[in-house]
Amino acid sequence: MSENKLVINGNEVGFTPGQTILEAAGAVNISIPTLCHLKGTSPTGTCRICLVEVAGSASLLTACNTPAADGMQVLTESPRVVEARRLVLELLLSSGNHNCAVHNAHAGDWTDYQMGVQQNDGTDALCPVWGDCRLQDLAFRYQVKSNRFVPRQGAYPTELVNPLIVRDFSRCILCGRCVQACNEVQVNRAIQFGNHGDQKKIVTPGDRPLKESDCVFCGECIQACPVGALVEKKARYEWRPWKATTVRTTCPYCGVGCQQLLHVQDGRIVKVTGVAGAEPNQGRLCVKGRFGYDFIYSEERLKTPLIREKDGFREASWDEALDLVAARFKQIIAESGPDAVAGVSCARSINEDSYNMQKLFRAAFKTNNIDHCART
């Protein structure tokens, strides 16, 4: 009888049939690095960073799509594995503009390299995801020195023509997570792998800009991108992971109630991501949830109570405005009874606001004339 156990780095680990080596290891907190793997989608094995050594196998195997098997002997950080991963990382780093400090190609010419990248980028900054890059993390972890290969110049210009998503092909490592996110997670089917060999690229049908494609700007691809190839235009060169704090909250738009992580910097929300694994959205957001946060900073916000005066409004203190509201409602109730007043509550605001409003109408005004847009 099968016991469904394999040995990882000398430790016996149970698994359920159908689990991959990566999943079995993950269940007991043995970390195997991944880049292209996107949880919940079918593994592609594209990036080969999750290579592990399996006894009896001549070649190294990708943990993300190799099923765990009874009695399997796996090494996740053997010298052979580490060497292979370093080669993978060297190749990835040289595949484009990875101008972070770990990229020490042309050791003496790093400044020149930076200048070149920045010129191509049209900015004066380092990679926009510096400090939040899976590739950078791994290059650091495996101390990769990538002076063996000459970095490839970006074959395609950066797409900036839409207002929300920046596509920097010079930083794309072709891991395909965005393709998985678009096709298997959100199922919008806007992007695919296109072209071949050196020209390989993530494309929309006909290689049109996103704005002219089926893209719905949910930004799931940005959230899936492990490098700086896809970034939020609104957060680019503003958000810094070490400066931002995160606040979990609930989206203010439709009735799904997606859980969001607000990235707050200097008292302002600078970007929004989905909370991984959270009910009900499992990290997913739509265009409004991801990009519809900055209305609260509009200069048009109401900032002070206003009282009508002739044809316009004048500013008033809270005391004056509230005294007026209370006095007029009292007068109307005294003259015409409590049912001469009525109120409409808000289906966008928090529960506690609606509770207090109905309490005000019932307990203070003594009318049940309280409603909201419940049915529309």
Binding site: P163, L164, E184, V187, F217, K234, R248, T250, P252, Y253, C254, G255, V256, L262, I269, A278, E279, N281, K288, G289, G292, Y293, F295, I296, E300, R301, L302, K303, R308, A321, L322, V325, A326, R328, K330, P338, A342, V344, S345, C346, A347, R348, N351, E352, D353, S354, Y355, M357, K359, R362, A363, A364, K366, N368, I370, D371, H372, C373, R375, T376
Partner: protein
């Protein structure tokens, strides 16, 4: 919703009726699409061939407002062929005979004429929905925003009870709610007939309970009035003082000209909001409120999940939390309310007074929220309602409904039907999304979506500015010629003030819920021609 979003991805069969889910509830739609990729069956019933319909096994393009005829005909076939769940009907429901009698005359042939689809398609749908169990039924405002909205909802419930799809995971009747906290506003008793937790204001024992909790006497015992009646009351001066919190009624209610006349008639109007908008123009006092992410609190989503909302930044200027404003007014009426924060309001009042919410406390919803009913603090919350076919009232009651046409149907003068809804990039009257960088670039104006056939007949080009008019008003708007829309229909949203569909919509209401018939009125399209 009787069921939950996390059931979508593992459901085996869906019927989606009157719901443009990919635009109005995009993230919910992703889970449904995941299920379809894995092999779940999908039937989309909608006049428009929208994006979700493109993914369906079967798109059933019924005419606007023919839902009851369609659903009754389905039930007619299910009964005639004995394809319904006899066991569930016998053990968990009553009045099946009444329903059976009512649907007798709804033969597929009879309904086909009303619905504008072949009778064989109705039989096909009946066959499909009875062949896989359970089926998850989802609907949105395409069902409710009709003069027969309540009857539409009853018909949907009748169908799911007959199929035995109630009280099970991946089944149920699932209205996707349009706004982040419309479920919560109902739960909190912002309704004219119930206190928080759906406890009736007409029940003396309940009133006494709230009198004790709130330390007041003589809580009002008669049901109050609903929004359309309030609006009429402004003109007749039956309503003299009106308080609008966070609703841009001047753009969202049907027939804008009528609504603005009503608002202009108000003797004393208080508007509490985050922006000046079309409604604040009519106010006598405007109170500036804190917005989303500027104070702590909770929202309750469509699946009854109470989740936390947290402060990320401070309100601008003198803007204050809404609950605080109401508390200050109560003080001026001689009432000192103890709760000093949203958490105190929830933990010490709401979740003490509403039986379904007693187990939900802030400390329990720090991560994922909890779904009501959650009667005590050990309770894990409820994913789906009516487990094992046990309904809130005991046995499920079949309530047959007769089909009635929309209040205004096309005629010679106004030969097209206008139906309305929401588009992906914007939300309601754009007070929020219109002020978010980028979203106006994604969608910058309203269009009148018309079919290629009508465009051809009327000689209208894609992108041409046309006049759309109804008995209420007329607007100039860009024509969007699209195969999504069937012949005879114009489809529009209400996101933009100019060319807002509500200049045209009909203020006719369901006489039970007072829901307006946003989904159907008669319009015409005219070429504007050279100036």
């Amino acid at each position: 919703m009787t069921n939950s979003f996390n059931e979508f991805a593992r459901a085996k069969m869906f019927m989606v009726i009157g719901s443009n889910m990919t635009e109005a509830h995009p993230v919910a739609a992703t889970f449904l699409k995941n299920a379809v990729i894995k092999g779940a069956r999908l039937i989309v019933v909608d006049p428009r061939r929208h994006r979700l319909a493109e993914m369906a096994d079967l798109h059933v393009p019924i005419k606007v407002g023919s839902d009851i005829a369609f659903l009754n005909a389905l039930m007619h076939v299910l009964i005639a062929e004995k394809w319904y769940d006899d066991k569930f009907v016998n053990s968990c429901t009553v009045d099946f005979d009444k329903l059976a009698a009512a649907v007798t005359r709804y033969t597929p042939e009879y309904a086909a004429d009303i619905c504008g689809i072949p009778s064989e398609m109705i039989r096909d749908v009946a066959r499909r929905i009875s062949s896989i169990k359970p089926m998850m039924l989802c609907y949105t405002l395409g069902i409710t925003e009709h003069t027969c909205g309540t009857h539409n909802v009853m018909s949907v419930a009748n169908l799911q009870m007959m199929l035995g799809n109630m009280g099970v995971a991946c089944g149920g009747v699932n209205p996707l709610r349009g706004q982040n906290n419309v479920q919560g506003a109902c739960d909190m008793g912002a309704l004219p007939n119930v206190f928080p937790g759906y406890q009736r204001v007409t029940d003396e024992a309940i009133r006494e309970k709230f009198e004790r909790a709130w330390g007041v006497d003589n809580l009002p015992y008669a049901n109050g009035i609903m929004i359309p009646e309030m609006m009429h009351g402004l003109v007749s001066h039956k309503i003299r003082g009106f308080y609008i919190f966070g609703e841009n009624l001047a753009n969202t209610e049907p027939d804008i000209r009528k609504v603005e006349h009503e608002l202009a008639s108000a003797e004393f109007l208080v508007v509490q909001d985050i922006f000046p908008n079309e409604t604040t123009r009519f106010a006598h006092v405007v109170l500036p409120a804190a917005a989303w992410s500027e104070n702590d609190g909770t929202f309750t989503n469509s699946e009854r999940r109470v989740s936390r909302v947290r402060t990320a930044s401070l309100p601008p200027g003198e803007a204050k939390p809404n609950w605080w404003i109401f508390k200050q007014i109560a003080r001026r009426f001689g009432q000192e309310w103890a709760s000093e924060s949203a958490q105190e309001i929830w933990d010490n009042e709401v979740s003490v007074l509403a039986p379904q919410l007693c187990g939900i406390k802030y400390r329990r919803i720090d991560g994922n929220g909890l779904q009501w009913p959650c009667p005590d603090e050990e309770h894990p919350g409820t994913c789906f309602l009516h487990k094992d076919g046990k309904f809130t009232c005991g046995l499920g009651i079949f309530k047959p409904a007769e089909w009635t046409p929309p209040a205004e149907v096309p005629d010679e003068k106004y030969p097209l039907v206008l139906s309305t809804g929401r588009r992906l990039a914007h939300y309601h009257t754009r007070t929020q999304t219109g002020r978010c960088e980028g979203l106006n670039d994604i969608l910058g104006e309203e269009t009148a979506d018309i079919s290629p056939l009508d465009a051809q007949t009327l000689g209208i080009d894609h992108g041409e500015i046309v006049r759309v008019s109804s008995r209420r008003g007329a607007i100039k708007i860009k024509a969007n010629v699209t195969g999504q829309v069937p012949k005879g229909m114009v489809w529009m949203a209400f996101h933009f003030r100019e060319a807002n569909a509500n200049w045209l919509t009909n203020a006719a209401f369901d006489n039970i819920t007072m829901t307006a018939e946003y989904k159907a009125c008669a319009v015409r399209i005219d070429k504007i021609g050279p100036a």
